[in-house]
């Protein structure tokens, strides 16, 4: 029953937003809907601690992992939708948007959120693919919302590359289904349901599963933003309006990663841990290295945040490669911490863009003196991003490193730490310029930041600290969710 409500609330909000013309209260209604999703997600987490919840004759299924992902989607989408009325007002004032496009924007945001929720709540691995592909369609028009050359170019590249990539994931899913139809051991099943795939996973043909998992890693990896199919990410995330970037970077990437977590369990059961580990390590480390290089010389604020997402997705892939319960639990905590932090940073970068008229790092300077609150939020957000204690990313990265050491992967820890060190230095250099660089003399008066901007963002950062200091309310959920994707 709970599962149906989780999907029904955003669906009803979508219909509401589609049926009336744009008013600011619709924006607030979408935030209320996201808050309801968060509440239902927490209730679902409690309910699934004993047994998974099923709905619609088993076509929807929620275990602890799904419930946790609902919580992540709810949290980040509250932050993003709280900025809808503000963003729309600013864009209408500057003539970028009309009331018609504002309505499109709200409807597509809700469709996007609903598709992500369906992806984590479906029992069927094929429907998982369909819903992740559907998010691409919903977000294309959100990326091109500003209707500039850059925005069209970004959304064109986004659709082409993601559709091409995700097609490989479909082929991978089909091959898993084929292997499932022809298990040699007399047991077989003929549905793509997660439970039935897992029940025969030990008997899947290794040759077919090996090829299938490689296709799935590249395919879903495209949507996650992993090397080699990452090139759409920086364009799309830098051209989209800030709340869209917040949602795409904060949760869409990790919803696609959720797909990889599920299939990793299937592959590990069929092939043993080594093969999926090698593959995920390769793409994870490659992404981390690429992000490190791109971050050093980055000149644009939003592209900097986008490449940092590639870095964190690389870390997640490395964590998943280790594949022990501790590592997976750390990966999940990292998903939540990164989602909130990245949303806070993208939203404050949207505000910076609105005030400064640019996202070029070189042209932004002395924020802390001129706009202390906004600058402070941005600064603390960056501290959280580079995993400074007591933010939760510190805890999750530390736990991942511990899991890697336990698994004997010393060299992985060494490479990751080296990359993180370089990234820290690069981000510190950019941040020092933007926050504390010299300011021109006429703007020495400190400007205030609107409360509707400051309150949600500060709350987001406080949540990150709270998760870092006391992760106990989540501890059992994370462990339980991690055990759900062990083979």
């Amino acid at each position: 029953m709970l599962i149906l409500w989780v999907l029904f609330v955003p669906l009803a909000t979508t219909i509401l937003a589609a049926s009336v013309s744009w008013r600011p209260w619709i924006g607030w209604a979408t935030s209320a809907s996201s808050a309801a999703v968060l509440g239902l997600g927490i209730a679902l987490s409690v309910a699934t601690m004993t047994t998974p919840e099923l709905a619609l004759h088993g076509s929807l299924r929620a275990d602890s992992l799904s419930a946790f992902m609902v919580v992540v989607i709810g949290t980040v989408s509250i932050l993003a939708t709280l900025f809808t009325p503000r963003t729309m007002r600013q864009e209408m004032e500057s003539g970028i948007t009309t009331s018609r496009y504002a309505r499109h924007y709200v409807v597509l945001m809700q469709v996007f959120i609903t598709c992500m929720l369906l992806a984590v709540l479906t029992a069927n691995l094929g429907v998982l693919w369909v819903s992740i592909e559907a998010t691409t369609i919903a977000t294309t028009f959100l990326v091109s919302h500003r209707r500039t050359d850059g925005a069209f170019e970004a959304s064109w590249k986004y659709v082409i590359l993601c559709s091409v990539g995700i097609a490989l994931a479909f082929l991978g899913t089909v091959l898993i289904y084929y292997a499932e139809l022809h298990t040699g051991a007399g047991v077989h099943s003929s549905s793509l349901d997660w439970t039935s795939v897992m029940s025969v996973a030990h008997h899947l043909n290794p040759n077919v599963t090996r090829l299938a998992f490689a296709l799935l890693v590249v395919g879903y990896g495209t949507k996650v933003g992993l090397v080699p199919m990452h090139s759409w990410l920086a364009d799309a995330h830098s051209q989209a309006p800030a709340p869209v970037s917040a949602l795409m970077s904060g949760v869409l990437l990790t919803v696609a990663f959720y797909g990889l977590l599920r299939f990793r369990a299937v592959a590990a059961a069929a092939l043993g841990p080594t093969y999926p580990r090698t593959l995920l390590l390769v793409v994870g480390l490659a992404s981390l290295l690429l992000a490190t290089v791109m971050l050093i010389a980055q000149r644009d604020l939003k592209r900097m945040l986008a490449y940092s997402s590639i870095e964190h997705m690389g870390l997640l892939a490395i964590g998943a490669a280790v594949g022990t319960p501790l590592a997976i639990a750390a990966v999940l905590l990292h998903i939540l911490g990164h989602g909130i932090t990245k949303a806070v940073l993208f939203l404050s970068s949207g505000e910076i863009y609105h005030l400064e008229g640019t996202t070029e790092i070189a042209k932004i300077s002395g924020l802390l003196a001129r706009r202390p609150v906004l600058g402070g939020i941005f600064g603390f957000g960056l501290l959280s991003l580079v995993a400074f204690p007591p933010f939760s990313l510190f805890v999750s990265e530390l736990s991942m490193a511990r899991a890697e050491v336990d698994a004997g992967l010393w060299w992985v820890v060494a490479i990751s730490l080296a990359c993180l060190g370089v990234i820290f230095a690069a981000l510190a250099r950019h941040a020092r310029h933007m926050l504390m660089g010299a300011t021109s003399s006429e703007t020495t008066v400190a400007l205030t930041t609107a409360r509707s901007v400051a309150v949600p963002l500060v709350t987001g950062l406080v949540v990150c600290v709270a998760l870092g200091v006391v992760s106990w309310p989540l501890q059992s959920l994370l462990t339980h969710a991690a055990h759900g994707v062990m083979s």
């Binding site: 369909v130 294309t140 170019e153 659709v159 082929l171 084929y178 139809l181 077919v208």
Partner: protein, 218 residues
């Protein structure tokens, strides 16, 4: 009966590959779109022949769906785009046409090598034809990489998708119907989205030569 079935299946699957290679050969958008339409129909024929042979009702429904979506609707949408565009020829492909055809032959051989490891698990008349699907996918990727025009990218994407659909039919007699419905709908929507973007881009900056897309870079 069985030999008719095999002959029909081979004919239909062969038509899928031939039309894929033809899209590399032809230059005018109009004839490329006709090839895609032919390919969609051949694909639906594969599904229907398999469905009749194995008495799978769901696959029969899928076959009819494929006929409508990939045989009629998607080519129709593309035809509308090409009518908007007076310069409807691939002007400067990165690899010229004769070389593309040679490359396609190499890709076909490659796909036979790759597929043999998978299909050896359950040999049947249908699974012998899997390399044809793989070859179609590879030709689609080749087109995506070497052709510059926006329409050609969309055509490449559709080739990839049709190839995967063919592999799906031949290996598993179709994935569950709900998944098939979802993925057909997704393809349709992607084409609609791309078509819309193309029209907007042309209205905006009067180009669809993708090499000119250079606003965004590091």
């Amino acid at each position: 009966m069985n030999s008719t079935y095999v002959a029909a299946l081979e004919l239909a699957a062969g038509a899928v590959l031939v039309s894929a290679v033809m899209t590399l050969w032809r230059r005018s958008v109009r004839s490329i779109v006709s090839m895609l339409s032919l390919q969609g129909m051949a694909l639906s024929a594969v599904a229907i022949v398999l469905a009749l042979h194995e008495h799978e009702r769901a696959l029969f429904v899928t076959g009819c769906l494929v006929f409508v979506v990939k045989g009629l609707v998607v080519p129709g949408l593309l035809r509308r785009v090409s009518r908007l565009d007076p310069r409807s020829r691939e002007s400067r492909p990165l690899v010229n046409v004769p070389a593309s055809l040679v490359f396609a032959a190499v890709l076909i051989v490659l796909s036979y090598v790759v597929s043999s490891r998978i299909t050896s698990m359950s040999p049947s008349e249908a699974s012998h034809l899997v390399p044809i699907g793989v070859a179609t996918v590879l030709v689609g990727y080749f087109m995506l990489v070497t052709r510059r025009r926006a329409v050609s990218k969309i055509v490449g994407l559709i080739l990839v998708d049709n190839g995967i659909a063919l592999v799906t039919f031949l290996l598993t007699s179709g994935v569950p119907l709900i998944v098939e419905l979802g993925s057909s709908l997704d393809v349709l929507l992607v084409v609609v989205v791309l078509q819309f973007l193309m029209v907007s881009m042309r209205r905006h900056s009067d180009t669809d030569q993708l090499t000119e897309m250079k606003a965004l870079r590091d």
